[in-house]
Symmetry: C2
Subunit: 268 residues, 2 copies
């Protein structure tokens, strides 16, 4: 079983990825795709007069401020435009894809954060009307049902709270949880860089391999957007995934290249 | 088996509908929901600087001009905002809903129209870059798989062409095709009027019952947006659905009221 996470940053080539998925799917039809949509959401939110806002937690992590209107725009882009665009690309290549969010069949369940402690202009604040959380449980039965029936699941945030509310969750960590829950051998995380860089954005500083035991040490090397990918990798490996590969999503054959060891291979 | 089509016009109460679905689902978990999103799509398209355009076919039917950008906005609203909003409402009421478009698992397949003959300013024209079509085949296997596993399918356009392109299709007729293909006993079509009106918009002119054999005669009574509902009803009845009910989607218990005979009952 292979889980592939496709980032939502600019530069990632969905057609190249879809080409690769079509080939891999023919050979080994046990795969789950997870995707993001951050850059497009920022653009659409701005066009709709509700520009994106990012907050920094007390622990130093950046995340999207998700009020109810942001959640709606988020769903438009992630679950509408990008999810269905990707399903269409896969269908036109002969892959019987089924696009889903974490709400559908409660695939991704977790706790909505009732208070988010942030730092703004040097001062600590608490946000209470935010729809964010973390995936704590992957209900694999719908994914397994679809795979057994020959469909390729294409999954995207939001997730669902235990109370049934949509919650914005980090896609990389959700993909890691999914890989672990599905008993995946490999998790490939594609973004718009060649992998983990020792000196971002210098692509020549690519770190080719990290032993599973050392991954936590690399948190400090990771620049902002990479931190959650490293965290996801650590969680996936701890939960039984054999290797996590950070690959380049901008090139031809991005998944095959990652599986061949191009990028940053963690564990393995 | 019951199929419920929820219109996309303003005034329809999704919370009332979700309440009703939650009750009905507990008693008889064989149901498929189909929904639209026309009014919201118009608003969002305007906000995004790509205002809606409607064309009138040579035969006199109005439909949305669907260029590639419109299709994208259409998917944002139908498959993102409304589909996931409805899934969230159902999940928070304890119904394990799964939201899908006709692209997913190729549920709704049909032919993309390669040329649309329209009348504009009294002159005939042909549109060739339009992404519209008609559902010709319902691939029921994914719907059956989901129902058998205890999930409620919540379906929305677009459909998929035989070549794997997304195509805008009429939701009422797609719901009718779905009801027929799933062997449904009843199709309920909820809109923002009490049913078929003899003198639209006079709600006192409601037609309470139409025998199945007479439905074609009522095409001329139907105002523009009702024409495709009447056409859908005719197709559903011809393909084995026992009754089609046009119900009021603005009121409490809209589905139960329709099943109790409120609205326009066709056949039965």
């Amino acid at each position: 079983m292979l889980v592939v996470k496709i980032g939502g940053s600019t530069g990632i080539s969905l057609p190249h990825i879809a080409d690769d998925v079509a080939t891999l799917w023919t050979d080994a039809p046990r795969m789950v795709i997870v995707h993001g949509g951050s850059a497009t959401t920022n653009a659409v939110a701005t066009q709709l007069g509700h520009p994106p806002e990012f907050v920094t937690s007390v622990a130093g992590y950046t995340s999207r401020r998700t009020d109810r209107r942001t959640l709606e725009i988020f769903e438009m882009v992630y679950c509408g435009q990008i999810n269905k665009g990707l399903v269409e690309m896969l269908q036109s290549r002969g892959v019987n894809a089924v696009g889903l969010s974490g709400l559908d069949g409660r695939i991704w369940e977790g706790k909505r954060k009732d208070a988010i402690r942030i730092v703004k202009d040097g001062r600590r604040m608490v946000l209470r009307d935010d729809y964010t959380g973390k995936v704590e449980r992957v209900n694999t039965s719908l994914l397994t049902t679809l795979l057994d029936a020959g469909y390729l699941p294409v999954l995207t945030p939001p997730a669902i709270s235990y109370e049934g509310e949509a919650i914005n969750v980090d896609g990389d960590r959700a993909a890691a949880m999914t890989a672990a829950a599905m008993g995946a051998d490999t998790l490939v995380i594609l973004s718009n860089v060649p992998g983990l860089l020792r000196a971002f954005p210098d692509e020549a500083s690519l770190i080719p391999h990290i032993p599973a035991a050392d991954v936590a040490r690399f948190m400090e090397v990771a620049e902002d957007r990479m931190k959650k990918k490293v965290m996801g990798a650590e969680e996936a490996l701890a939960d039984g995934v054999r290797r996590v590969i950070f690959g380049d999503g901008r090139v031809e054959h991005p998944i095959r290249r990652a599986l061949d060891g191009h990028g940053t291979v963690i564990g393995g």
